[in-house]
């Protein structure tokens, strides 16, 4: 659990962060979203004391972080940097093993954990003896993540972790990231300026502007209950895509065709519209069987899906 109370920070005359507050529950992912220069990185770095705030307090698991030795604090927090920041003179294995070595883990434990992680992160054995410059951007990012995860910290801070990657690589890593069991158990604060990425990965989003918090809420809340014009306009360009992401089949259940009897495989109604569309398109399937509440099953095709979605949207707007 992380809590920020009225955190402010000035660099000279620049008010980088102003009275920022938020609370991240255990195992929740909070995404700091905002345009470049709005104070996201500064906020994040105050959580592991790379930057000290001018005012306000930060608590991790109800302990004020200023009461702890900064180096001890940092060893307990995973940090993935915007620029990856691997050590160019260390092999990949050494880069990953850095913190455990500082913590004086024994060798076997380090090796076991390293192998476990590279498997989960889809890195190959032979990269372990290479140096960072020999890896692709995507591989380097995975190593950065492995380095942050190796000691299995309960808190993870990530600063635009996919920012340096091309679109295709980014999308696929985001997916893997979302699927990682290990990450579901962590309290995560992630920074991004990419709205789609925020909607893809966040439990809740903290929208920031000019160093201040504009709105905190679930993706759905941000989309359908924007607090002011800034919040509305921030999402304006991609409303449809965002709606596909935040709305799931369960939401539009009543707008879909009648229930049927079906005994084969079926998908969960937790599926977002976006995911359902991908399944229909990518797998060349004509229809999907979805199991809703009370084990009811509906069969939908692309047309029925979009129709149901549109009806739901209209209902939301006229509420």
């Amino acid at each position: 659990m992380i809590e920020l109370k009225e955190i402010s920070k000035k660099f000279g005359d620049t008010q980088a962060v102003k009275q920022v507050f938020f609370r991240v529950a255990r195992e929740e992912t909070l995404v700091l979203l905002g345009t470049s220069g709005c104070g996201k990185t500064t906020t994040l770095k105050m959580i592991n004391r790379l930057i000290e705030p001018d005012a306000g307090q930060i608590f991790i698991n109800d302990k004020n972080i200023t009461d702890e030795d900064p180096n001890v604090l940092r060893k307990g927090i995973g940090y993935v940097m915007q620029n990856i920041g691997l050590f160019p003179h260390y092999t990949i294995a050494e880069n990953i093993a850095l913190v455990p070595k500082l913590l004086k883990w024994d060798k076997a434990k380090i090796i076991n954990r390293t192998h476990e992680l590279i498997e989960k992160l889809h890195l190959t054995e032979n990269t372990l003896s290479m140096y960072p410059h020999e890896l692709s951007g995507g591989q380097q990012q995975r190593v950065g993540l492995a380095r942050a995860l190796i000691t299995d910290p309960s808190v993870l801070l990530m600063d635009e972790p996919f920012g340096a990657l091309d679109n295709v690589t980014r999308t696929s890593i985001q997916k893997e990231f979302k699927a990682l069991e290990e990450l579901k158990r962590k309290t995560i604060v992630m920074v991004t300026h990419d709205v789609l990425e925020a909607f893809e990965l966040a439990d809740r989003i903290c929208l920031m502007d000019k160093g201040e918090v504009v709105q905190i809420g679930t993706p759905k809340e941000l989309l359908y209950q924007p607090i002011n014009d800034f919040a509305r306009n921030f999402l304006a360009g991609q409303r449809l895509a965002l709606a596909f992401k935040v709305i799931n089949i369960q939401d539009i259940w009543s707008y879909l065709p009648e229930e049927i009897i079906h005994h084969g495989e079926s998908e969960t109604a937790e599926l977002s519209i976006w995911e359902a569309m991908e399944l229909l398109r990518n797998k060349d399937r004509f229809e999907l069987f979805i199991s809703g509440a009370n084990k009811t099953i509906k069969s939908i095709n692309f047309e029925q899906l979009t129709k149901g979605f549109n009806q739901y949207q209209n209902a939301q707007l006229h509420e």
Partner: protein, 523 residues
């Protein structure tokens, strides 16, 4: 050409013992000072990378130190550190400092900020960041600085011989004094090879990739320490007294060679430059030195000449030597220079030297006072009929003589004068004369005979102790061989002499060279 190479080879194999020990000393000096420079420069570089405000000051001071001429720097060291290894190492250390500090600084501040931030974010302490991240990443740049420092040190270490710290400079400067090209090359070639070799080795280390570099970094300090250790090896002293002889004296028949063959003198000897030898004797760093009998410092430092009871030091009467060409070009010149003939006796010369060396009067003033007192002074005519170029060797007496001649020429003729004082040694002065760079300089009969003509030993021996015979012989031979004329002798005899402190000479009851040998044999 072939012959030249062979004789150089012969010289080097004949002197292989000395060559080896000088080379080892040279390497040792270079690396001991390098170790110290690293020990001081690395932390300083790290400090100013942390506190950038200090960087201007620290780099500025190191930069200024770097610009002090090496000889001057060595000179400054003597009052504080005496002679020998200590001041030489400190001087070398000072030269090596700038590249090491500067490169450590630029290496560290050049590291990617994100990498440093990552290190902090992982929870590494400042010390861990320094040792595990900053220094390894700055290492290629730091090594480049060490490489520069090493090459500088190999070069400057040749000057260590000036203050009795040994090294290949002994051959180089000995050779220059003795007009011995092979000896110069025997020092210069190994020194150059050493510089090239070390430079190449360090560039290899520098270019290694991260993996190999990390291994090399463990070996590197060991290698430096071992090489530095070479200097400590050749230091087993053999006698109770220590002699300091100039490189020139070391190689001469009427010097150290004669002391050995005629007197059988065995004394622990270090090689040292004339400029600091007297002071070192006064400061009890040395007990016996090879001085000149008219040197003013004899008086200044209360030294006593040991009697040359077996006559190995031939007379050294001074006279101007002039190119025939110059005599033709300047018809008044010979007459004017001869005005000084017979005017400066031994005691007058010692006194003149005393004034410059000890009372620190300017040579111009000493020269003018002398000419006024002898009635020879005339105000300068500021004539324009061509310029006479006067040379002088690099010691006090020659500066005074050059000034006296300059004033005589300006006052008595319509010629202008330019002086080229401080020509490094006999060979440099004589080569300048032969190559029409100067018109004349004061030379000594003994030097003309033994250094410049180098006749076979029997002629030399027969000649050397007779003032007239020597003068006649060098006059005739110089005319024949070089078209250079010896004018009339100035009067004083500045021969070599062995000297000790008055007090020590009394205490040990050593008054002659034979006494010295007996004393040494007993103790």
């Amino acid at each position: 050409m072939n012959e030249q190479q062979q004789t150089l080879w012969q010289f080097m194999s004949g002197q292989s013992d000395k060559l080896l020990s000088q080379t080892l000393q040279h390497v040792g000096l270079t690396f001991i000072s390098l170790i110290l420079a690293i020990a001081i420069g690395l932390p300083l570089g790290i400090l100013i990378a942390r506190k950038r405000k200090l960087s201007g000051t620290v780099l500025g001071i190191a930069g200024v130190l770097q610009t002090i001429p090496s000889i001057a720097l060595l000179g400054f060291m003597i009052p504080v550190l005496g002679i020998g290894a200590k001041p030489a190492i400190v001087a070398l250390l000072i030269y090596a400092l700038l590249p090491i500090i500067r490169n450590t600084y630029t290496g560290i501040i050049g590291i990617d900020q994100h990498v440093k931030e990552a290190a902090r974010a992982m929870g590494m302490s400042k010390g861990q960041i320094l040792l595990k991240v900053e220094l390894p990443l700055a290492m290629p740049v730091i090594l480049a600085g060490i490489r520069t420092a090493t090459v500088i040190n190999v070069g400057v270490a040749t000057l260590a011989s000036f203050i009795a710290a040994g090294g290949l400079g002994e051959f180089i400067f000995g050779g220059i004094s003795l007009n011995n090209t092979n000896m110069i090359l025997a020092g210069a070639i190994p020194a150059a090879l050493l510089a090239i070799l070390l430079d190449a080795l360090l560039s290899l280390v520098q270019k290694m990739d991260v993996k190999k570099l990390r291994k090399a970094l463990y070996i590197f300090p060991v290698v430096i320490l071992v090489l530095g250790g070479f200097y400590a090896l050749p230091s087993a002293y053999g006698s109770t007294l220590t002699a300091g002889f100039t490189p020139e004296f070391m190689g001469r028949q009427d010097g150290d060679l004669g002391l050995k063959s005629t007197y059988g003198l065995k004394i622990h000897t270090i090689v040292i430059s004339d400029a600091v030898m007297y002071k070192a004797a006064y400061a009890k760093e040395l007990d016996v030195i090879s001085g000149y009998s008219t040197d003013g410092r004899l008086k200044a430092f209360d030294l006593k000449i040991l009697k040359d009871d077996k006559n190995i030091f031939p007379p050294y009467y001074a006279a101007p030597i002039v190119r025939d060409e110059a005599l033709k070009q300047f018809p008044e010149l010979e007459k004017t220079l001869n005005l000084l003939s017979g005017k400066i006796t031994d005691s007058i010369m010692t006194d003149l030297n005393y004034r410059t060396d000890y009372l620190h009067q300017q040579p111009e003033r000493v020269a003018k006072d002398f000419l006024i007192s002898t009635g020879l002074y005339k105000a300068a005519k500021n004539g324009q009929k061509g310029t006479v170029r006067i040379g002088s060797k690099i010691f006090g007496e020659q500066y005074i003589l050059a000034e006296i001649y300059s004033m005589l020429i300006k006052g008595n003729t319509d010629y202008a004068v330019s002086t080229k004082t401080g020509l490094g040694g006999t060979k440099i002065c004589f080569d300048a004369l032969m190559n029409d760079q100067i018109d004349f300089y004061p030379e000594y009969t003994g030097t003309g005979l033994l250094v410049l003509l180098q006749p076979n030993p029997t002629i030399a021996k027969e000649m050397a102790h007779d003032k007239e015979k020597t003068y006649d012989y060098v006059s005739a031979e110089f005319q024949r061989k070089f078209k250079i004329k010896w004018l009339k002798p100035i009067g004083f005899n500045n021969s070599y002499a062995l000297m000790m402190r008055q007090k020590q000479s009394k205490e040990l009851n050593v008054n002659s060279i034979t006494d010295l040998k007996k004393y040494l044999d007993k103790n």
